[in-house]
């Protein structure tokens, strides 16, 4: 672009007839990223900026250091980490079964994976509360416990890792696995040394998304957690309570903290995934 003369208005002057089309198509090519950037600004950057400016007050640290807030944030991060780790393991296992094994009803199971995304999360919360709450038909009451929260989070984040890993696993070179076997590697070694490195970037980014989602999950958690301060109060539920009681600055402070956690984790995970993926041909 720099090699063409540019008018003060930013319009490119056609240097020769042959340049006209080039210039026009370059301008059109610039339009796409421009629109995308504008849309992203309106949808993501602006709300984040508004939130951050609300939080940026003298009350920020006071809001965060309130004992109840600290406890809620610590619980939320711990639950999100546990969710991401468990999702990574179960997600890879599910993807493996769906890609490598043949069994009756496989297509149905494959379709079921997306159900947690399709179901409104409050409905998921209600289902879980009915099943595992007081009066549970399976005699298991985990309402108002941290295990109950984890269960709800695992439910709503289940598709992330499965759907990230599935296509990568499909593309894994089966002959590379056979080559490893011919060189004396057992099935576990072959998985660890040949398959896992190939699917690790996808697993990481899936787990990263699951983590971010778990940090802010509200609908599925609000009913089963019972929202006991210092025990089962999750950050998202705390924010809702703060807003209801008129503490907008406090709500914004907690929100920005969650946002920062999510961004940092996604940045780390994406960076790691890219570094791993770069080595793949």
């Amino acid at each position: 672009m720099a090699d063409l003369p540019v008018s003060p208005l930013g319009l490119r002057a056609p240097a020769a007839p042959g340049y006209i089309r080039t210039g026009a198509s370059r301008a059109a090519a610039g339009l796409g990223p421009g629109v995308a950037l504008l849309y992203l600004s309106l949808m993501v950057a602006l709300p984040v900026a508004a939130l951050t400016s609300t939080a940026a007050s003298s009350q920020f640290l006071t809001a965060l250091t309130a004992p109840q807030t600290g406890a809620a944030l610590a619980l939320t991060v711990a639950e999100a980490v546990a969710t991401a780790v468990i999702d990574a393991v179960t997600g890879v296992a599910l993807a493996w079964v769906l890609v490598r094994d043949d069994f009756p009803g496989k297509r149905l199971v494959n379709a079921l994976i997306d159900l947690p995304f399709a179901l409104p999360t409050i409905v998921a919360g209600l289902v879980l509360l009915t099943l595992y709450g007081p009066g549970s038909p399976v005699q298991l009451n985990i309402a108002q416990t941290r295990a109950g929260i984890l269960l709800a989070l695992l439910f709503v984040t289940l598709p992330f890792v499965v759907r990230a890993v599935q296509p990568v696993l499909l593309a894994v070179d089966r002959e590379a696995e056979e080559a490893a076997a011919s060189l004396g590697a057992g099935p576990l070694t072959t998985f660890r040394r040949i398959v896992l490195p190939a699917i690790l970037p996808a697993t990481l980014s899936g787990a990263g998304l699951a983590f971010a989602r778990a940090l802010g999950e509200f609908g599925s958690v609000v009913l089963i957690s019972g929202n006991l301060p210092f025990k089962t109060m999750m950050a998202s539920v705390l924010i809702a309570g703060q807003v209801e009681s008129g503490d907008t600055a406090g709500a914004a402070a907690v929100s920005v903290t969650l946002l920062a956690f999510a961004l940092v984790v996604i940045a780390i995970v994406t960076g790691a995934a890219r570094r791993l993926a770069r080595r793949h041909g």
């Binding site: 080559a179 011919s182 040949i194």
Partner: protein
């Protein structure tokens, strides 16, 4: 000695191998030759332990290994599409088998260095497979397969994905490698020229069965049937018999054993000249002449020539009626 006895293998409705028996002599370079889908790759994979046959057995040095998994068979396997470990460097690819075998570090380092030297990749040890050409990747795969000093080297269309020039180079190189190391080697190919050029023994496989097995010259000169004859070289039909185009005797004078034909076309191909003619019954026939022979005959389109098969029917150069198709032994 590697023996496959009465191997049958089906994939769903498709019968890949039917009662196949072959014997592979130790220290030889054996080609499994045949058209695509004929079952030769399946046979190689059964010998490797990558497929379990539906029936029959594989014996190595007299020991039944039919159900021994590939990883316990001490084989080296080379795949058509390299099967490189893409997230490992060339060095780590070659060292993989040694690491699995827990070879001491110094010994492994020395072995990998030797092998990379052998396959002329000594300067590329730190590269990733994606940064190599096809020929380099396949040489890396060969080094990887040889690292653990396997008892047998199995190659499945090893040069099939490479361009003609590299293929030609690697062929000669594989032959020399075999001459140096004397490792029992079986390779699958659909290219008769490749098989003829480098193999000590050729096993022709078609429709899941062995058509014939033996040294290249024997198969070329004494094919067991028309399929083998047609697969190993050019053929044309004269007097109801399949003959090699270069074995036909051409003259401009009448002869009692010769068939009359009219010249359709003479194509000069450098050293050789292809004569295309039509017999009295309308059948086309192709004859291969040397340039000198063609000049001596001094014929052109529309001339009448007399074509004589090399020997009377059923003689030495023709088909060998006694050979049973399906028998592996020559």
């Amino acid at each position: 000695m590697i023996e496959a006895r009465n191997i049958s293998k089906s994939f769903g409705d498709f019968r890949a191998l039917t009662e196949v028996s072959v014997s592979i002599e130790p220290g030889r370079l054996t080609a499994l030759l045949g058209p695509s889908g004929g079952g030769k790759s399946t046979l190689l994979r059964v010998i490797a332990g990558l497929e379990v046959p539906d029936s029959g057995e594989v014996r190595v040095e007299g020991r039944d290994v039919t159900r021994v998994p590939a990883r316990k068979r001490r084989i080296g396997f080379v795949f058509q599409h390299y099967a490189a470990f893409t997230h490992m460097t060339v060095w780590d690819n070659v060292a993989f088998g040694l690491k699995i075998a827990r070879t001491p570090r110094d010994q492994a380092r020395q072995r990998v260095t030797e092998l990379l030297d052998l396959v002329h990749l000594d300067g590329l040890a730190r590269r990733y497979p994606a940064e190599l050409s096809g020929g380099q990747r396949q040489r890396m795969a060969l080094a990887r397969a040889l690292a653990t000093a396997p008892g047998v080297l199995l190659l499945d269309e090893p040069f099939g994905a490479l361009d003609a020039k590299v293929r030609q180079e690697l062929r000669g190189w594989l032959r020399r490698l075999h001459d140096d190391m004397h490792i029992t080697t079986i390779f699958v190919t659909h290219d008769q020229e490749e098989a003829m050029e480098i193999a000590d023994e050729i096993v022709v496989i078609n429709h899941g069965q062995v058509e014939q097995a033996g040294p290249p010259d024997q198969l070329y000169d004494h094919p067991a049937n028309e399929f083998v004859m047609g697969f190993l070289g050019p053929v044309t039909r004269l007097g109801g018999e399949l003959v090699r185009p270069h074995d036909i005797d051409v003259s401009t004078g009448r002869h009692p054993a010769a068939s009359e034909a009219i010249v359709e076309r003479l194509v000069s191909l450098g050293f050789t000249t292809r004569l295309e003619a039509t017999l009295a019954d309308g059948q086309p026939v192709t004859v291969q002449l040397t340039r000198a022979q063609a000049a001596e005959l001094d014929i052109g389109t529309g001339d009448i020539v007399f074509l004589r098969p090399p020997h009377p029917a059923g003689a030495a150069a023709g088909l060998v009626p006694a050979s049973r198709p399906g028998s592996a032994r020559p």
